[in-house]
C-alpha cells in the first residue's frame, strides 16, 4: 500500500513539476534564441575562402537535462507497445537547442560571426532504475570564425 502511494505521489509530482519546469525552460530558450541571432550556426564542414583569413577557434556548449518520473513511466509503458516516445521528444529538443545556444554565446563573446562544422553529441548520463534514461547530456561544438576588423559580413 505504501509503495503504491509513493509511486502515485512521485507520478503526480513528476507530472506537475515537470510540466512547469519544461514550460519555463522553453520560455528561457525562446528568449535567448531571439537575443543571439549571431553568430550563424552552419553544419558545413568547410567555410568559403575569404581574404583576409579569419581567426578560428573551437567553441562548444553542453547541457545536462533530466527527465521527470512521470515521463520515465510513460516511456516505459510505451516500450511495451512500441511507437514514438513522445515524452522524451521535448527533452531532446530542449537539450539540443540549449547546447547550441551556449555554444553561440561563447562564440559571440569571442567576436565570432559564424560557427562552421557544427556537430551534436548526445549521451545518456545517468540511468534510472533498470536502465531507463534518467538524464542526458548534449554537447554542441564547432569552429568559430572570428573576422579581422574589416571582415566579410554575413548576408
Amino acid at each position: 500500500m505504501v509503495d503504491l502511494i509513493v509511486f502515485l505521489t512521485l507520478l503526480a509530482l513528476g507530472f506537475g513539476v515537470g510540466r512547469y519546469n519544461e514550460a519555463r525552460h522553453y520560455r528561457s530558450i525562446l528568449r535567448r534564441e531571439a537575443l543571439y541571432k549571431t553568430p550563424l550556426v552552419i553544419p558545413e564542414k568547410t567555410p568559403p575562402p575569404t581574404v583576409p583569413t579569419p581567426k578560428t577557434h573551437l567553441v562548444s556548449g553542453s547541457v545536462v537535462i533530466s527527465v521527470d518520473y512521470f515521463k520515465q513511466v510513460l516511456a516505459a509503458l510505451r516500450g511495451i507497445f512500441r511507437g514514438r516516445i513522445t515524452s522524451y521528444e521535448s527533452l531532446l529538443d530542449r537539450a539540443r537547442r540549449k547546447a547550441i545556444l551556449r555554444m553561440r554565446e561563447r562564440a559571440h563573446g569571442m567576436g565570432a560571426n559564424m560557427i562552421f562544422n557544427v556537430k551534436l553529441e548526445t549521451t545518456s548520463i545517468s540511468k534510472g532504475s533498470k536502465g531507463n534514461t534518467g538524464s542526458i547530456e548534449v554537447y554542441a561544438y564547432g569552429t568559430a570564425l572570428i573576422p579581422p576588423r574589416d571582415a566579410m559580413q554575413p548576408s
Binding site: M1, D3, L4, V6, F7, F15, R19, K37, L40, V41, I42, P48, Y69, F70, K71, Q72, V73, L74, A76, L77, R78, G79, I80, F81, R84, T86, S87, E89, S90, L92, D93, R96, M114, G128, S129, K130, G131, N132, P154, S155
Partner: protein, 280 residues
Amino acid sequence: MPYSNPEIPEGINTTDTNPLREFAVLAGTTLAIILTVIAVVAFLAERLAPLVPLGFEQSLTRQHEDQLFAAPAAGSVDAAKTLYLQTLADDLLAQSQHADDDIRVTIHFAPAAVDNAFAAIGGHVIIYDGLLRRMADEPSLAFVLVHEIAHVQYRDPIVSATRALSIFAVLKLVSGTLDIGALEQALGVSGQAALLAYSREQESRSDLVATEMLYAHYGTAYGATHLLKALKQSTVGDAEPATFFATHPLHANRISDIETYALERGWQLVDKAIPIPFDE
C-alpha cells in the same frame, strides 16, 4: 554564398499530445492485459495444483519436519498443549461431513507470543501460544482449528503457493524482460492485490466450512461468531487494513456471513462456553 539561420517553427521536433491521455490509455491497456494473464494463471493454478497428491506434499515436508517444526520436549507443558490440540482437531474432523480419510492433519504448537495460526503445505497446522492465550473458551479455539483444517481439506496452501509463484513469475517476466524499472513496484502491487482477493475468497470459504464443523461437534456455531466479535472488539481504535489490501475479509463481514449462513440452516448461535485446560 550567403548563409542564414531561418527561424524554425515550434513543434517540428516535438509531438503535441496530451500526456495524461496517453498515460491513461497505455496504463489502462497494460493493467487490463496483466489482470487477464493473472486471472488465467490463477485459474490454472486453482485447477491443477490440487491434482498434486497430498501424499507428495507430505513427503516434501517429511524430510525436513525436524527443522521446520520443533517437537516439544516429552512431558513438557508444550507437549501437553500439542496433544490437546491434536486430540481436539481429530475429534472435530471425525464428526465432520468433510472428513476425508486420506487427509491427515498434523497440529503443531509454537510457543511464541504471536497472534496467529496458519495452515502449511503437507497438512500441517501451526497455532501460536499468543493466539491460544487469547481464546476465551474451547469452541473459539475449535473455530480456529477447523478454519485452518478447512484450508488443508481444500488444498489452499498448495493452491496459494502455486498461484503466487505463477503470478509473480509472470510479472517478473513482464517487468524484467521489458526493463520496466519504474513500473516494477506498481506491477508488484497489482499482483499482490490480486493474490489478496483470492486469499479473502479462501478465508470466507474456510469460515463457512468451519461453522459447519463446529455445529456438527457442539450443536451450536457460537464459537465462530464469539471469537470474531472478540477480535473485532480488540481492534477498535486500530484501523483494519482496507479490504483491498487485507488477507482476510473484515471482521464485521465475516461475522455477518457466518450468522447468515447459520440462520439459513436454522442453526442456533447459543453460548456454549467450555474452558480450555491451559487457560492461564
